[in-house]
């Protein structure tokens, strides 16, 4: 079957200036895809989903913005739940990690140091209950989540430091555990910033 625009056999019938058309095509698409499309998207996104489009910022009870729920933060105070290892210390202006290969001796050294640290700060929880996500560097260095197991493993330490009962903290962790998306995709996880925010409110009331 013949196409509607072709006229005859394989010989070209088209005699326009090829470079002129190429130039104009490029300029038109630069305007269309490089300026119009992103700006229209921005306008609509700001109109329909303003809070998501601006980075899903989180406020504390006084209304102060304390960060984005999607961007992990550094918690050095041991009375807070701690997030994953981050070679950039959660400095969000330059995401990244060390990219240690599994065979890199530096990786083993860093993991061993994390384990020693854990034993010192969490004498009540044996190393065999320390989940692997707490001692490994996330890909982005900004992972906002830890696994529920990692949160629960920190409960005895925080209970002792804050004088809040283990049961109450376990309940808090469960309340802040997010399920898999649509019940099947991804992993169960706990948002460290939201959990810590709730933890700090707990002390105030």
């Amino acid at each position: 079957m013949k196409t509607t625009v072709t006229t005859a056999v394989g010989e070209e019938k088209w005699n326009g200036s090829l470079w002129g058309v190429a130039l104009r095509t490029s300029l038109v698409l630069i305007v269309l895809c490089g300026i119009a499309y992103p700006l229209v998207c921005t306008g609509l996104a700001q109109l329909i989903f303003p809070s998501q489009a601006d980075g899903s910022m989180v406020k504390d009870s006084t209304g102060r913005v304390v960060g984005s729920e999607l961007i992990g933060q550094s918690f050095t105070d041991p009375s807070f739940f701690q997030g994953r290892v981050s070679s950039i210390d959660y400095q969000a202006e330059g995401s990244g990690s060390n990219n240690y290969a599994p065979s890199n001796p530096e990786l083993l050294k860093r993991v061993q140091a994390s384990i020693a640290d854990w034993q010192k700060n969490n004498p009540d929880v044996p190393v065999s209950e320390l989940p692997v996500d707490l001692i490994t560097n996330s890909g982005s260095g900004l992972d906002p989540h830890i696994t529920p197991e990692s949160a629960k493993a920190q409960v005895p330490r925080i209970s002792k430091l804050r004088g809040v009962s283990v049961d109450e903290l376990n309940l808090l962790v469960e309340r802040y555990t997010e399920g898999r998306d649509l019940g099947v995709f991804g992993e169960k996880r706990v948002n460290v910033l939201k959990l810590n925010l709730a933890l700090s409110e707990l002390g105030k009331s």
């Binding site: 070209e12 088209w14 095509t25 038109v28 698409l29 630069i30 992103p38 990219n99 696994t147 992993e187």
Partner: protein, 559 residues
Amino acid sequence: MDILQICIVIFVLLLLVKPVGTYVYHIFSNEPNRTDRIFGGVERFLYRIIGLKQRGSMNWKKYALSMIATNIVLVAVSYILLRTMGALPGNPSGIGNMEASLSFNTVISFMTNTNLQHYSGESGMSYFGQMIVITMMMFTSAASGLAIAIAFMRGITRRGEGLGNFFEDFIKAHVRLFLPLAFIVTLLLVGLKVPQTLEPMRAVQTLGGGMQQIPLGPVASLESIKHLGTNGGGFFGVNSAHPFENPSPLTNVIEILSMWTISASLPYTFGRFARNKKQGWMISSVMMTLFVAFLCLTYFSEKAGNPLINQLGINSSGGSMEGKEVRFGIAQSALFTTVTTAATTGSVNNMHDTLTPLGGLAPLAEMMLNVVFGGKGVGFVNMIMYAILGVFICGLMVGRTPEFLGRKIEAREMKLIAVAILMHPFIILAPTAISFMTHLGTDAFSNPSYHSLSQSIYEFTSSAANNGSGFEGLADNTVFWNVSTGLVMLLGRYISIIALLAVAGSLAVKQKVAETPGTFRTDNKLFAGILTGTVLLIGALTFLPVLVLGPVAEFLTLN
């Protein structure tokens, strides 16, 4: 649950193949269609602006030249924009001009649909640059690749009509496919918390008392076309591992399907062009078989974890979580990794450098084969090339002139195919060897021993396959790496495109041979087996030694 969620994603993909493949066929078959009413007006307006008066069919040389001319203009304009970025508007974070060799690498990288990034988005690219250079090239490079694939399909399935009109195909790919889809996916992603704003970086005082600079920007509009166009370049340094680019498992699934669907549908489109749907399904089945094998290798290897860490007595049931995000876990990470290197997208949701040795071997091998789905068109076209090679080998064995889709395969086609097949290993292995001979290359390696070979081979394989992912520990923003990978990307894209269009042009003018009971069929299970064998055999012959020295040796030392 891991296996279930992977199966659901694959199932949804299979459901999408037929409608999307049919839609793509209707766009480019140039037969009157319902969608003309929606898009016809816009297209005619654009044809008028660009001065395309007649839309006659082109021969392969003119088609290739039109594509290359358009790409050259886009590269030149983008290079100038990057070099003067600091002085242009839309730069709230005050980012400076891009350095010359890095600009060269970046424009080549985005024009060739590779999206290898030697810059980091947060600190090296203004919002204006992200939109007018990066987002724009994500559209135009994808449309260029798709146009080539369509022209190739026309050439090998239709006789005496030329390959179509490049400019018409190019505009249609934007208007009917990429722009509308990107628009929808952008809004979906924003709804699921991907930022889309022109506000500058925001400073906040964190709960722990420190300060944090939170980078923002028009992320979602880039993210959608990055995957739909199998581009893969991230807005931020860590790409889709960044919580703003990929905030949840659901966005992860959307991104996987965005990059996978069009590539996986092209064999079906081809089946429509060839008026033989079985032929299309045969190719799909070979691609899917290879894909599932590589997916299993990555998944089980990552799930088993790193033996050196596991033996420290921790709770290692989570698998190898170094370089991965908790929200994705092993299943969504392994699936993303296998899809992104199959579809030659090159976005990453975990750091490939940190993958276990065999988990990292799978993405590397997929890019070496470069036929498992493939990016916009390229993987499909490569697969057809292997199919013709398979037919040729079978023809030699039974002593008949080989035929494919009713055309005789002769010396001219085989020579061109040999060039295209041999070019790929050559532009991977030769520069890798060079990188080990000079400190300009070896200084970049960040991991010791066998893994340094993996880093170098991955970088050039990714460049040659126009994938763009990396073993990102490599300190690759140097003149040596910018220029060498830039050249490899150029050769990897344009040499094979020219060779393949020449094959299509040559087949398009051949007499059709009548089908007889003795004709060797290329649409059945037997041929699917032969095709898989051809792909694996050629791949193993060229790349096995280097895989043994890199990932396999690392695997053996870990255990």
